[in-house]
């Protein structure tokens, strides 16, 4: 079903409907800093999951996990973590 991108008008949906979910657009490459969770300190309170504006922290049933595909490195999670279990480290090359 794969058509060459960018598509010609004959292959686009009617009424300019978007046809891809933004899940395909990985904003992770925006990062200058990346959050690293210290699971030794983490109390599983889920505040980081709650406050991530990019839904880039997911709860796997046992612990919060950073989804580096989308994390933009804003640092809200690290700032809000009640036990300072998240450290913002420079994104390496």
């Amino acid at each position: 079903m794969s058509k060459p991108e960018p598509r010609g008008w004959k292959d686009l949906p009617m009424a300019a409907l978007p046809y891809k979910l933004s899940l395909e657009y990985r904003t992770g490459d925006w990062r200058a800093l990346r959050p690293v969770i210290d699971y030794g300190k983490c109390t599983r309170c889920l505040i980081c999951w709650l406050y991530c504006p990019d839904m880039a922290i997911v709860w796997d049933g046992e612990k919060p996990v950073v989804n580096y595909d989308y994390c933009k490195g804003c640092g809200i999670c690290a700032h809000e973590c009640p036990v300072k279990a998240i450290e913002m480290k420079p994104e390496t090359a």
Binding site: M1, L12, P13, M14, A15, A16, L17, P18, K20
Partner: protein, 415 residues
């Protein structure tokens, strides 16, 4: 003409004005949402329709919006939710909706809009003028112009069928002349409710389109079972392609308008030319006049009179102004010596919009008629038979001499 499927005795005769005719048509069209704001001379449409709602005669949700901009916005929301939506306006009300007209067309929402043609301010003038309709000619809407209240009733019903046709999916504006039609009493024939329902195929059907992230075709509506997003941001990499969809859809419109006209004829016994153009006495005419709206009645009367005196004159009423019927009109006009194009509006700094279209229509002909633009009737200035006759006489003179001299003329203005 063959016997209509619905015999005349079953088509109830009522005496109404043009606005009421539209209101009665909307009443029968299973419209879900009417969102409208009053403006003379459209007010009676909305008033009459409100009575139907208050009496429980329709299921329609009537939304008395606080401006015309919100009227069209509410219609866009309603149509996007899957409803059949209608609104009406005139002049400055249409101007206020202008932004949303383009949005309705690009989102492929088959809203029907009755425009009761009135002059644009300033100065403020409530009377008949086509400036308002001409102002929306680039918006992507289908534009139909009616000659009388019967046609206003007929065309309003047809408009839903044309707009919702699977090949079209575009909004339709039905134009009727302010005061000359809207506020003048006429006898019209109405179809029974169930016949109209059947003609439209019941409630609105929603088209489907393939969306990759669904992996299937989904309905073009706000539906919690298949979420879609209407109205994205296009950068320079997609806007052009999206506009092509609208351009292609417009190409498919004339055939649909003609077909609906035929179906209507078979149903009621009434048809309007081929649906897009209504010619009269054009076959051997030296002079042909083109016109939109109710003035065509007067023009036809003058043509009959002049024909009885031996003058070879004819006329074409343009029923469908957008998309413009270039091919059909070229066929009708090519044999004439002179074509007089009547415009009840003008594009300041240029000619009347009909003139510009007809110029384009005839340009490619090796031998083409001379063209004269007659701007008339601005702000409700009457165009009585003697004025029309004067125009024809001028055109006949031009046919004789072969000289146009003044291409842009003004009919009925005091110097």
């Amino acid at each position: 003409m063959a016997t209509p499927r619905i015999p005349l005795e079953k088509q109830v005769l009522i005496a109404v004005n043009g606005d009421e005719a539209v209101a009665y048509a909307v009443k029968q069209c299973l419209v879900d949402v009417v969102a409208a704001y009053p403006i003379t001379p459209q007010t009676v449409i909305v008033e009459r329709f409100s009575e139907f709602v208050a009496d429980g005669e329709v299921h329609t949700e009537f939304v008395p919006v606080e401006s015309e901009h919100s009227a069209m916005s509410a219609c866009v929301g309603a149509a996007a939710a899957g409803a059949r939506a209608f609104t009406a306006t005139a002049a400055n009300g249409l101007a206020l909706m202008w932004e949303i007209l383009y949005i309705a067309a690009s989102l492929r929402l088959p809203i029907v809009l009755a425009v009761v043609n009135r002059a644009l301010s300033a100065p403020i003038n409530i009377h008949c003028d086509h400036g308002d309709a001409y102002g929306m000619r680039d918006s992507g809407w289908i534009q139909l112009f009616v000659e009388n209240s019967q046609e206003a009733y007929d065309t309003t019903i047809q408009a839903f069928k044309i707009g919702e046709h699977p090949d079209v999916q575009l909004p339709v504006a039905v134009n009727l002349d302010g005061f000359f039609l809207s506020h003048t009493l006429e006898n019209i024939r109405m179809l029974p409710d169930d016949v109209v329902h059947e003609f439209l195929g019941g409630y609105r059907k929603i088209p489907k389109t393939y969306v990759d992230y669904h992996g299937r075709e989904v309905e073009l509506k706000l539906d919690p079972s298949s979420p879609i997003s209407f109205g994205p941001l296009d950068l320079y990499d997609y806007y052009f392609e999206h506009k092509m969809h609208q351009i292609e859809a417009m190409k498919r419109v004339p055939d649909v308008v003609k077909k609906v006209n035929e179906e209507w004829s078979e149903l009621t016994g009434r048809s309007y030319g081929d649906g897009v153009l209504v010619p009269y006495a054009t076959e051997d005419a030296d002079v042909i006049v083109t016109v939109l709206g109710s003035t065509s009645g007067t023009v036809r009367t003058v043509v009959k009179k002049l024909r009885s005196r031996g003058y070879k004159v004819g006329m074409v009423r343009i029923r469908m102004f957008r998309p413009f019927p270039f091919n059909e009109l070229r066929e009708l006009l090519k044999g004439a010596k002179v074509v007089g194009v009547m415009d009840r509006g003008i594009s300041f700094g240029s000619y009347g919009p009909s003139f510009m279209e007809i110029n384009t229509t005839l340009y490619d002909l090796r031998e083409r008629p001379l063209l004269v633009n007659y701007v008339y009737g601005l702000g409700g200035r009457d165009a009585p038979p003697d004025l029309i006759e004067k125009m024809f006489m001028e055109l006949l003179e031009i046919a004789k001499t072969g000289e146009v001299k003044e291409k842009l003329r003004f009919l009925g203005v005091r110097e």
